[in-house]
Symmetry: D2
Subunit: 340 residues, 4 copies
């Protein structure tokens, strides 16, 4: 059994990692950290996991690294880089924060407001979108798990830009996420009464996630790509949907995506003209993609849906870990979605 | 007191008309029709209105038109044109269906799948977007109330196209509506379990509402305008939000809209950079508009929010009626939104 | 115009007071306090009220009491008693906190964990359930507005206990509330993801609201009454429903309540056998009551529904203020419920 | 591999059976019936199952029973008895309808309004509450799966009545269910706008589920037991919570339940004083039970929560099938709950 530590286990992505690893035959949980809740049980923090035999929550400085093979890091941005650069080099790490996703330190500083503190470590990081970087991930020590909005956008966009099936400009990504994407922190904007029965955009005109989108799209296209990106907050727990407006022929886009993903277990391209729904991937590691011709000639609409906590975070992290460990990539991740 | 009949009172827009007219000092309800529920009380159909003294629901053919001055028609498409052409000519009518919104009979036939049956009547119709057609509405006999998605889109787009503050192409309208927009009919897609905790687009690539959008945008711009339009279904009762991607300068767009709407009671332009939320117009006749610069030079994002049952249907219908009757336009419509 | 100050205007009950007073012809808002948000506008705190011309939020110590006739106090428990005892004696006050609801200081101390700091003031307080204490409220200087769960329970229970139509024991009140009842404070249990798609009881076995229920039920029955009371949290914004199990004949209970409330504008007793729904009172000051015979002979189920922010808080406070001011009791409160 | 047929696969319980069997190592799906959707794929009816290789939906009369070992019957009441009595005798059957749950044909006729059509078959039925009837289920040919409200109620009540830890009267079961319990049929009361943002009781005073509760409670107590039972509809997809008011000592009740369930994988008794939440069992086969002392001496509140589609229907059906087939009872059912 591979022994895993989950750093930052008292948040939603931490709990989701526990849920998924509980069904994984080759990985066991050796340590769970949560600095503010250290000393309490995971069952106190997350009663839905009370039936699982788990280690008590401890502080990060209490972890006995000698009993750990694999680290899932679900700590906040900025903290993460400090923590990870201090870990023993032999550990394999999947980082769920944004700290190591941007290759260019200047871009990091621009969007996150401070100089990166682990530039050496950054150099060996592999970007954690498994369908795109599988071979590099297999050899990586540290994988920077792709963010939820970004994975939703890149799964359709990268193959299309590589294949030149769509123009690199304009690309408009209109996206919406369930509230769990904002985490378990106490924010007025995450209160039930501020979210339910309403819908709104936020971070309009330049959300920090565009840095990640730009980096990967530009590499795929071979030219600089700068999509428009507008996130919205949905009155639901889970699910991200991106409705992407592109220039390109719908039939060609559809056949390009279908060919690209025909052997991928987790990515399903729907028949041409059929739109995916977030509720049909809930709780699973699947991404559903649909392609529809716009009425404007030469324009198409590509829609992508996934569960932000699974395929957009913890499930994808486990998928990356499976690859890093040489395990079958879908191990522990074949659960069907939960509907309704 | 002006005596109003509401045709099709057992749907959500019918109930909303009753709610609003209940607070109107100059209009009383003389007749309520609902063919399938004829004989039962409005309190049976809508217990939230049980405290209001209302006429019993009757069949359309039971209405005594001699006691009616004003008609709100909330009947389904196609039925409406047959009914309205048979009404006494002296009646003032606000029609909430799509039957009379399209000036070009060929467009009607194309999108609604049958020849229009009241072409003579169509000729004298005024399009019911009050802020744009106030003078014509004041003299009209029959006003075709603007649809909910369309009002959300046109309130920002028409002044901008008229002022040439935005390019007529490309315009991308990414919109989302609460479920009440689908009415009270029994459809699997309107069931709680099929809507809650999920989000999806529908009618992608060519929803029939684009005909109305094209007609009005093209008139405003003086050239043919064909926006992309993608509606989505939200897990909430009320509210429509349109996130509109345009080519144009955000500051210029903002000042253009601010100037255009500074004296309009029901349309609020938020400070530059602030996005509106559907929850902040819930239950009211207000429309909130926000303008944000996109990071792509020369592109902007215009966001518009309203309550689909009030400003997108029954409230706007009452606003139109007030104008037709020579009453103060806001009469009975000044209720503040209900939040949370 | 009567000039009102709202103390604690940045919470949900404060905003609801503003919404309701905006439609009141005889009361204007002279001051709004919110210590932590002092200096900002009400529109910043509550964008749905942005169309109303309102004073800027100020600190409590900045209020010019000379320009104030009426105070609505929506401050937290314990703070309230300190604030209210220091106000000029000529002010009429409706207090929405629990600080002055309990007549017995020992009971206050038992449930709220500290000695009461304004015992002199407590002596002249009138309990703010208008249908029960109308005459005393008319002469009161300080009215302690009944709490939301309690109003839902007492509206049916007090007349039935007075009329001896039910036994004083056992009475089981199984109640559920929307999340707005917990206020706008930052608590993990109020986060969207912790509330939506789930249901649970809290404060089981002895919630502090029972003190208020006991006090009033015992006075009405003339003997000590100690109902069981279990509150639950609902995944919805507004609405309280109490399902109350009593010993008594359903027909007698129904006729007793019907007679008691036949002339009350805000309390509606449904036909025997019909259960009320919270959605049918949403946003209004109405309370709906239903009575159903249990299958067990001699037992009945009484169900009561109201909007916790209106009839359970701010609407009832305005109703009390109307009585205190000698105005028609329903002034500004006749809005129909908002459904769906 | 055991070959299973699912009769009535186009409803929510049918889909849930497919989801669970997909993760079961010893059972494969040989046939799926849905008379009205025959000829279409399961992926059309339930896009969340599109990744699973499944037989096409067929009519009941098209099933080749020679390739079937096990039948899950998710057909409507009344239809079921006609279908099941015609099946080959060698088949093992788990029936999810109410048709075979009542032992007394007079009780069936009283609550379901017609004479039972398969009285011979009824005689050999075993009641499908695994923790209570495990040994009989192991030998049964036809198991009548316990209903969702009933399982929620009986899991705590039966051991307590058997142990005489509570009085057989009064017992008040105040329960609430998510909307999926009403199925996928088109009913106005299941529409999103009629359910969301609201709460109400239904079937008050005598819901048909009490027949099943009476039967089992009376057998356990050895005397006739007639609890009061009030179901409510929650604005959420999944989850049932029963708040049960009993006469008995909380500590004794708690120790009795703890002892009874200490070796049961699927039933968790929480520490004394802790209330369970439906969100913490979502998507799983677990039932959570809590016990709290009421403030009234000698009275206690027992709260029980489960997922109505899993432990209240399809999961419990698979648990029964595992027992009938001699498999480990938890096979395919160990998935952790999905939260949030």
């Amino acid at each position: 059994m591979i022994k895993a530590a989950i750093l930052g286990a008292s948040g939603y992505t931490g709990a989701e990692l526990v849920r998924l690893i509980d069904g994984h035959p080759n990985i066991s949980i050796a340590a769970l950290t949560a600095d503010r809740k250290a000393g309490s049980s995971m069952a106190d923090a997350f009663p839905h996991l009370a039936h699982i035999d788990l280690p008590t929550l401890i502080r990060l400085d209490q972890v006995d690294w000698s009993g750990v093979d694999l680290v899932f890091c679900a700590l906040p941005h900025a903290t993460t880089q400090q923590v990870l650069k201090a870990l023993p080099e032999r550990l394999k790490i999947v980082d769920l924060s944004a700290d190591f996703r941007l290759e260019d330190p200047a871009e990091y500083e621009r969007w996150y407001g401070g100089a990166h503190q682990a530039l050496e470590l950054q150099k060996e990081v592999v970007y954690g979108l498994p369908e795109m970087y599988r071979e590099q991930i297999a050899k990586a020590r540290l994988v920077a798990n792709t963010g939820c909005y970004v994975a939703t956008s890149l799964l359709p966009l990268l193959p299309l830009l590589e294949a030149k099936a769509i123009a690199p400009d304009p690309i408009i990504i209109d996206a919406a996420s369930g509230v769990s994407g904002a985490g378990r922190g106490l924010k007025e904007t995450s209160l039930f009464c501020e979210v339910s029965e309403g819908f709104a955009a936020y971070g309009v005109g330049g959300h920090r996630h565009v840095a990640e989108i730009d980096q990967e799209c530009s590499k795929a296209a071979g030219v600089e790509v700068r999509p428009s990106f507008t996130p919205h907050l949905l009155p639901q727990n889970r699910g991200i949907l991106a409705t992407i407006y592109v220039h390109g022929d719908a039939a060609e886009i559809h056949s390009s995506l279908s060919a690209r993903y025909q052997d991928e277990y987790f990515v399903h391209v729907k028949p041409l003209g059929v739109a995916p729904q977030t509720r049909h991937v809930r709780g699973s590691n699947f991404a559903h993609i649909g392609v529809v011709a716009d009425r404007a000639p030469g324009r198409s609409i590509v829609i992508s849906a996934l569960d932000n906590l699974v395929r957009g975070a913890s499930g994808q992290a486990l998928q990356n870990a499976n690859i890093m460990l040489g395990l079958e990539e879908t191990t522990g991740l074949r659960q069907a979605p939960l509907f309704p």
